[in-house]
Assembly symmetry: C2
Homo-oligomer: 113 residues x 2
């Protein structure tokens, strides 16, 4: 398989968080969104490393905004989904869906006929 053909587990999560946040997606909010929705602890380094990878693959892009007039208002690096990212996350979903199909009736995890 070619390298990076499929999104990793955390890459999927980060991409979805970014999508949810629409025009307010940057490192800190992405981290918060993931923690809020999944309850999973996320280190900030993990988020940025993943975002960088997604950007390198052409799934998202980012730009530095102007600093805002608040305490600690350092310039934020915003992210947005690119079309390739949209396809990638759809593909990931379809793959998992096809594997789950027909399982999980009443949480039973026994293949149903």
């Amino acid at each position: 398989m070619a390298k990076g053909e499929y999104l990793g587990e955390f890459e999927q999560i980060v991409l979805l968080a970014l999508i949810r946040l629409a025009d307010n997606a940057y490192g800190m909010t992405i981290r918060q969104e993931i923690e809020k929705r999944t309850g999973r602890y996320v280190s900030i380094g993990a988020v940025y490393a993943t975002l960088d990878r997604l950007e390198k693959k052409g799934y998202v892009d980012s730009w530095l905004a102007d600093p805002t007039a608040e305490r600690g208002g350092r310039a934020k690096r915003y992210f947005e989904l690119l079309p390739a990212g949209s396809s990638a996350i759809q593909r990931s979903k379809e793959m998992l869906t096809s594997m789950w199909e027909g399982l999980d009736v009443d949480g039973d995890l026994t293949p149903q006929t």
Copy 2:
């Protein structure tokens, strides 16, 4: 990460394939099941490496069956899901589901209110 706290992307797929195959889950059939359902090429080494890891984590177990009297009838190593594996895959699903919630209306990937 706390080591191995979450299932990787391919780990999820392998686990689901194994579940689907019920009492006929061994290396070759698992590989086939994944290729059949997802269309994704899977090397046999990838499958076994992943199965070994899942076993080490206590998510599945395996045993060697007796060789069968067929051409190429080498003893097969069968796999089965353990309760911890069942929980793990459920958790993975819930995590992704919570991230997808409300998205993907008509494949649109724009957060819906």
